[in-house]
Symmetry: C2
Amino acid sequence: MSDLDPLLHSRCEWLRGEGEASDIVMSSRMRLARNIAGFLFTHHLAKDESEELIDLAESAVKKAALFKEGFFFEQKDLSSLDKQFLLERHLISHEHASAKQDMAVCLSRDEVASVMILEEDHLRIQVLQSGFNLRGAWELIDRLDSELAGHMAYAYHPTLGFLTACPTNVGTGLRASCMLHLPALVMTKQINKVLQALQKLNLAARGMYGEGTQPSGNFFQFSNQMTLGVNEAEIIESLERVIRQIIQNEKEAREILQTKKKDKLEDQIWRALGALKAARFISSRETTTHLSLVRLGVDLGVIQGLSAAKLNELFIMIQPSHLQKCSNRALSSTDRDYERAAFLRRELKSVELL
Amino acid sequence: MSDLDPLLHSRCEWLRGEGEASDIVMSSRMRLARNIAGFLFTHHLAKDESEELIDLAESAVKKAALFKEGFFFEQKDLSSLDKQFLLERHLISHEHASAKQDMAVCLSRDEVASVMILEEDHLRIQVLQSGFNLRGAWELIDRLDSELAGHMAYAYHPTLGFLTACPTNVGTGLRASCMLHLPALVMTKQINKVLQALQKLNLAARGMYGEGTQPSGNFFQFSNQMTLGVNEAEIIESLERVIRQIIQNEKEAREILQTKKKDKLEDQIWRALGALKAARFISSRETTTHLSLVRLGVDLGVIQGLSAAKLNELFIMIQPSHLQKCSNRALSSTDRDYERAAFLRRELKSVELL
């Protein structure tokens, strides 16, 4: 277990671009909120209690099979750039990244599993899977959760279930989500209908970086809101059913675009690629918007010679802290826009504007 | 003398991209308004008088040395597409192109000289020269004017000079103009100061296609307003002096951009080239805007492997009627945007986005 450099050039699980419906579902995610019995909730812990809890959690997590040869970092090991880096890879949350108090994080070697220690809850266990694979993610996280429970006593109430710092997580403590790429529903202006329907079903829609982030680049993260009064299987099954419907809607919208608006669509796709290949300065927001269109172009067979996996890698590498890690130095916002443009031109050099 | 096809693939004089200061001055133009004694002005002519005048003018013009092996067209020879085509090549005026009554036009083989017959005046004699060459244009047009005067009696008043249909042309009947490409003055927001100063000097600023057109793509046509009470040499000298000053201003503005805003400038230049290489549909206005930036990029040595002459050719070939002549069919506006984009991609294929 060393610093973060080994992660820089490995591929994030959530961007592997494989698995069911991976042209629409980027990734599936499960997280469990858990607290350790006998301790106050995170925000009420004294310094020495935090340290004791981290030690306890660390020793438990390190025993789990998934974390063999994994990484373990404490607050003191992580610069703010490191935390931003982990956030960009979806391995820690915004809240965890900005924590002032003690915190720690444990990552499996392949970035499939992570445990945030002293986030809002003592433990936030997460499993990511490429593509549409909620069941696979559930199997992994359930096994991991059982393993951890063998080494720690969870705060559990016989009627309420798992106790959590925020009442919205009480019960299963489970949040299941999928990140979807829905350019056609956005372009055909059907996305608002979808979002409204989701609200009625008590599902939340968020941006690429979870709670508190706006959808951008046509990426949407859909998750369950309810954790109490339903069991895990019901949560997963109901989310799965809805996601399957949205995949169908997106597919239909793509077909409509390809038949009725083919010309305009291809114009947008090629122009997006042109901008990425030409720009000398480019923000991450503009890049994400263009990459989304290029991704659609690849999915529809308009653009050749570029794989979904390669494109997904670009999505992550153009993020601010990834650029800085690659350059081995802190970069101002303007410098980042410059480095990002240079990186994109290099990476897309061989993709031709036909 | 046949139809217009031979012109299609020859290079317009005004876009040859040669001569003094041709990185800033696209072309220099002279025109003389002349009327034939013994006839009413154009708009008052009866049908048979028009025909008589055209015959008279035709036989005079065809005797001139410049029109040997030239082209002569009458209203009946020209479709509205043909007229638009001649307009795009700056060989006839908007007014002449939209004439309902009889009209005719005579062109020299190299497109340097043209005579519009039955425009607002009986004769509008024009000479175009590439680059900054008002004197060269004057010498040619003066010689041509003298030749024509040997075969026709001009309407001339000993005190007022040449008589014209509109009082603003009485006297010399001379309009001298230069078309300038001033991207740096536009980008540094100094162009309005320049335009205000010109107004005080009684010079007019117009768009690429003369009277009634707005400047676009950073192209400005500057011309004298006064024709009465000054002689030809004074008109030319005063316009020359002002143009020389504007060239200097533009050069300074380019230097400022290259030193203080180099990054932003290069970003704009490459993105413009990227859009031209990528688009599937593109309007002539958008194309002109991008080509203007690409032209600046070529002039500043940012873009390699593209000549000014080649770029100038693109400026003309992307115009609506040129596209239609090339495709050998009438094209809707959407079809033109499609053909224009395809043409640009083909022509710019070898120019690399570095």
